[in-house]
Amino acid sequence: MSIGSTTPGAAAAGEQTREQVRPERATRRKKPLSEGKRQERRLGWLLCAPAAFVMVAVTAYPILYSFWLSLQRYDLKFPDEREFVWFENYVTVLGNGYWWSAFGVTMLITVVSVVIELVLGMGLALIMHRTLIGRGLVRTSALIPYGIVTVVAAFSWRYAWTPGTGYLANLVSPEGAPLTERASALAIIIGAEIWKTTPFMALLLMAGLALVPDDLLKAASMDGASAWQRFVRVMLPVMKPAILVALLFRTLDALRVFDNIYVLTAGANNTSSVSMIAYNNLIRGLNLGIGSTMSVLIFLTVAIIAFVFVKLFGTAAPGSDDGSKR
């Protein structure tokens, strides 16, 4: 409550709010801040300033610069033809089959791998959560794939699927070369993604499992719920915030899929993701304009997905208050 207000008007407002029963409801209204509050707010800004400055330097600037580049015809192979073309690059990219093919591939990989990861991750999380004997060992071994560098893991997948020498290739299709066909190559890419990041999903979900009080599950079993009913009707709703966070993190992560594709197929047979073709245009092709346009489009996709998660599903960052209030 504002009792230390300085202006006469504010003092009157203070009188009004004092009469209200619940102080937190009063603060929701616009009213002049007391001196102490203002000081606190100023200190808050000052403390944030260094971090905010670094953020601007390393993220805001590149984002704005690539947006600026995306509005230009700018190919380093033809530096003289640099020209400001407004949104022409966007028309070019969005009207191009390769982009849409890559976009489709990315979406397919994202959706399929995230869904499977969620199911497997939940299973793994439950196992890790419930294990009583050798808990440390179980958790450590479950996390090994996540601990391996993605490129290294991708190479081991490639060798495993190389015809003649790879054991998986020999086992599954001794005649063919799975990495050279679109469907099987995509399946292998998705498999590698799942293998690699399920532990991460499981970790996030395990944090969610820890949020479910034991008493709640006991109460549910006393109320007559079977194991499956306890899982679906009690555990999942309580874990929902953690599940959404895990989904958001993994979706955004999967959308940027690059290393696995780069190593496994290098984008052959229409297996490129949007990150791959952006890289090919920007770094290999030195076409700064088109490459930047693709980067901006990827950025927009990520932003839209994050927006949908946060606004529509009410995902909150772990630990923030909003999540628990829902």
Partner: protein, 397 residues
């Protein structure tokens, strides 16, 4: 509704610890029974075994005459109220209370009717569409009770249901729980560590300690005739005073002075196996300002007054008497009681707590003449903790 019988029920864990040692207990149909004891005494484990949330290692548990050892909690038809209330946060009050009925695939209309009825009894009607997060502690507690009663189960199990409420609300809810239980007449097992709750609520109270039942009885019996030091010290607030006494040439040497042996005490101590060194237990209300009881039989002594707390109806007077004495016989019961009372955090209590009439004129700092009702004192064997005075009463009765 049903009776509950525990027949040598034991709980031990793989690592060898035994939480409950072969408990025998018969709970009658419709009875309100309280399991009370300090933390770690096995009361919650016992309750969980009745609920089916923990396996019974050996022994038999019968509900309504039927062995239920191997039945899942949901097949035992008993409801439980938890200390944390364990309300489903994603469901409204109505959904919370309807949950067990919906799982039982009951008809929707009937569910509604039952929920409304329970809500009316518990005065929750206007909160039915709220989420638990928007309720106060007392309301949440009532929702938890509501979820238990809508099912009309064979028995209620309550695990410290009032411990999370503030003191005033706890007293209110205590009477409400008691009234509700009488109204429904459902067998109820109630776990608490609070002896006041145990005394006020239960038809019978089971005092437990370290996995063993110490004594079972109605509250007054436990208070008047505790079988051992532990029960004596645990039941009653303020707690019973304990003094070391020594039997010497027909007198009881105590820090208060030499007490004459009344016939009652004499007969106890004449038994051949009676030890020389004993612990005497005196309840605070068995003291009185000597001025007010001139001429009454008893023992009178003088002691400096440390502190006077006036409660209006009577006065708690703390007397400076060395109750620890140099040669206090060691007793595990007393050590455990001290630990339960938070002995580690508080300075060791030394002195007598007495409850005198409000008319008493004793003043802090001055000496007071205090009368002690020798007929009411208890004598305990320090090595076993047994109440020796009780033996004589049982023999006489």
């Amino acid at each position: 509704m049903a009776d509950i019988v525990l027949d040598k029920v034991t709980k031990s864990y793989p690592d060898g610890t035994v939480a409950v040692h072969g408990i025998d207990l018969e709970i009658a149909d419709g009875e309100f029974i309280i399991l009370v004891g300090p933390s770690g005494c096995g009361k919650s484990t016992t309750l969980n075994m009745i609920a089916g949330l923990e396996d019974i290692t050996s022994g038999e548990l019968r509900i309504g005459g039927q062995r239920v050892n191997d039945k899942a909690p949901k097949d035992r038809d008993i409801a439980m109220v938890f200390q944390s209330y364990a309300l489903y946060p994603n469901m409204t009050v109505r959904e919370n209370m309807a949950f067990p009925l919906r799982l039982a695939k009951m008809d929707k209309q009937l569910i509604n009717q039952k929920v409304e009825e329970a809500a009316r009894v518990l005065e929750l009607t206007s909160y039915l569409d709220r989420k638990p997060a928007n309720l106060s502690g007392g309301q949440r507690q009532r929702v938890a009770m509501g979820r238990a009663i809508v099912r009309s189960p064979k028995a209620f199990l309550m695990d410290e249901p009032l411990s999370n409420l503030d003191a005033k609300l706890r007293v209110q809810m205590r009477t409400q729980v008691s009234r509700l239980q009488k109204q429904l007449g459902t067998t109820t097992v109630y776990v608490t560590h609070d002896q006041t709750e145990a005394m006020t609520l239960g038809d019978r109270v089971v005092v437990m300690r370290a996995g063993y039942i110490q004594q079972v009885g109605d509250p007054q019996t436990l208070y008047d005739s505790p079988v051992n030091l532990f029960v004596a010290g645990f039941i009653g607030s303020p707690a019973m005073n304990f003094l070391p006494v020594t039997l010497e040439s027909g007198l009881l040497r105590s820090p208060l002075g030499d007490l004459p042996l009344s016939d009652r005490l004499g007969s106890v101590l004449s038994a051949a196996d009676a030890p020389r060194k004993l612990i005497m237990g005196i309840r605070p209300e068995h003291f009185e300002d000597a001025r007010l009881v001139e001429g009454t039989d008893g023992f009178t002594f003088t002691a400096p007054v440390d502190l006077v707390e006036s409660m209006g109806s009577d006065k708690y007077v703390y007397l400076n008497v060395d109750t620890r004495g140099g040669d206090t016989p060691a007793s595990t019961d007393l050590a455990e009681l001290a630990a339960d009372a938070g002995g580690a955090d508080l300075p060791e209590q030394n002195g007598l707590v007495t409850r005198l009439s409000a008319e008493s004129r004793v003043r802090e700092g001055a000496d007071a003449r205090v009368w002690l009702n020798l007929d009411k004192v208890h004598l305990f064997d320090p090595s076993t903790g047994t109440n020796l005075t009780l033996r004589e009463e049982v023999a006489a009765g």
